[in-house]
Symmetry: C2
Subunit: 235 residues, 2 copies
DNA sequence: CAGAAAACGAGAGCACCGCTCTTGACGACT
DNA sequence: AGTCGTCAAGAGCGGTGCTCTCGTTTTCTG
């Protein structure tokens, strides 16, 4: 009645776990395109058709890998955020950024699966929308906390924001980052996409050979984005 | 002696062109993964092996598609930039950004081929490095012109820049955007990656359902990035 | 406890893919 | 006119995702 009641369910769960593990290893070495159900079956000593007892299609296996990837990235981001004092908002932002970059560089193929070209013909099921925003949720928490602590500076630049646009941003992001005014949300959205733009460029080789070490440039960019968002050190 | 001397060379060039055209159409509808030499051959009424007389492998066909894509994007960016008065630097920046976004939305699969996950096992040949930076070259031209016109504001934020990092940025980007100081280059690099981060998020469906119309939000972000770069309207 | 039902691994097979090799015909240059 | 290179065609190799069937084994049920 607890978990794994019958022997069959136990071995099924174990085999499912093993399939995913082998698939993740293949994904890490060959990339998403090189993930082959037949190869997984071969490595398990099974016949290829037996895999379909556990995953009805290659896309379903990819889906669990994607969900696992979002969770791994989200967990890394959560850990990095938790390691910084809660009222050091620029520090938390920088920690989150470096966590995303470090994880992406350590798992480039999984990152590509999450943020690269969509798999042709693949449609993300509803199960992915939870883990998908796990990192964004951390960022939203930082923003909301900064706003409540009075550590979110109002916009300084000469760019005025359309009130309707700010309202739409508030309505759309209220669940993830409550209490944050619309103009700050727009700046935050820009910074967030900038983070992933940088990481994608780096992981996908667009920066190839431009810098000897990209980390200092990334760190500088992160700090500049932090001030653009309006994050200030203390209340 | 000029072009297409013999009849054979003429028909060969024509068939090569037709293969590329069909391949690009398949790429646009099916995506990079669905590009099949056999399907191209079928559509041409040829047998599959005959294709290999023109392209020694699928990767070679992909390479020409990639080069064509970079050129198409670069040309769109160049046209957009040329349509704005040369001394309206924020306007030129915004025009370039919208050109990138518009082209990407109009050709999502080709954009994915250029800026999405790298094709597994595919190594970009040297032929691509020229067209690859065509858009960046336009951006560099805007920056250099703004700098020479005194329309590139010095950094205002409280983020100080490491001199060594600024020097490396100058050395690395001097060919593309001369005369621009290192700290401005770092800000520009951040803005550039931010642009592609946004476009990638939008094309790859990461923004799905967040906004009814993403264009105003993008435009706002572009303007904010323009001021972050330091671009000012006139000399 | 015995029988029905469900789950399982194995195997054959379908259609597709990239790519290679050989064959025979056609065109171009000497 | 003869030779040589280019070409389309066809067969074939090993690989893929996926489907179906067939015994076997395990689980559930009457």
């Amino acid at each position: 009645m607890t978990a794994s009641r019958t022997a069959r369910e136990r071995v099924r769960a174990e085999l499912t776990r093993e399939i995913v593990e082998i698939a993740r290893r293949q994904l890490a070495t060959e990339g998403a395109g090189g993930l082959s159900l037949r190869a997984v079956a071969r490595e398990m000593g099974m016949v290829s058709s037996a895999i379909y007892r556990y995953f009805p299609s290659r896309d379903d296996l990819l889906t669990t890998l994607i969900i696992d990837g979002y969770n791994a990235l989200g967990e890394a981001v959560e850990r990095a955020d938790a390691a910084v004092p809660a009222d050091d908002f620029p520090g938390r932002w920088a920690a989150v950024c470096h966590a995303v970059r470090d994880w992406a560089l350590a798992h480039p193929h999984e990152y590509a699966l999450l943020y690269g070209s969509p798999v042709p013909g693949y449609q993300a099921p509803q199960d992915t929308i939870g883990p998908r925003v796990r990192d964004l949720t951390v960022f939203g928490g930082i923003l909301s906390a900064a706003q409540r602590a009075g550590a979110l500076a109002p916009p300084t630049g000469p760019v005025e924001v359309d009130p309707a646009l700010a309202d739409e941003a508030e309505a759309s992001l209220a669940a993830l980052m409550p209490d944050v005014p619309g103009d700050a949300l727009l700046r935050a959205l820009s910074a967030w996409t900038s983070l992933y733009g940088w990481v994608s460029f780096e992981v996908f080789g667009q920066f190839k050979g431009a810098f000897a070490d990209l980390r200092p440039a990334f760190d500088h960019s992160v700090k500049a984005l932090g001030t653009m968002i309006g994050l200030t050190p203390s209340g």
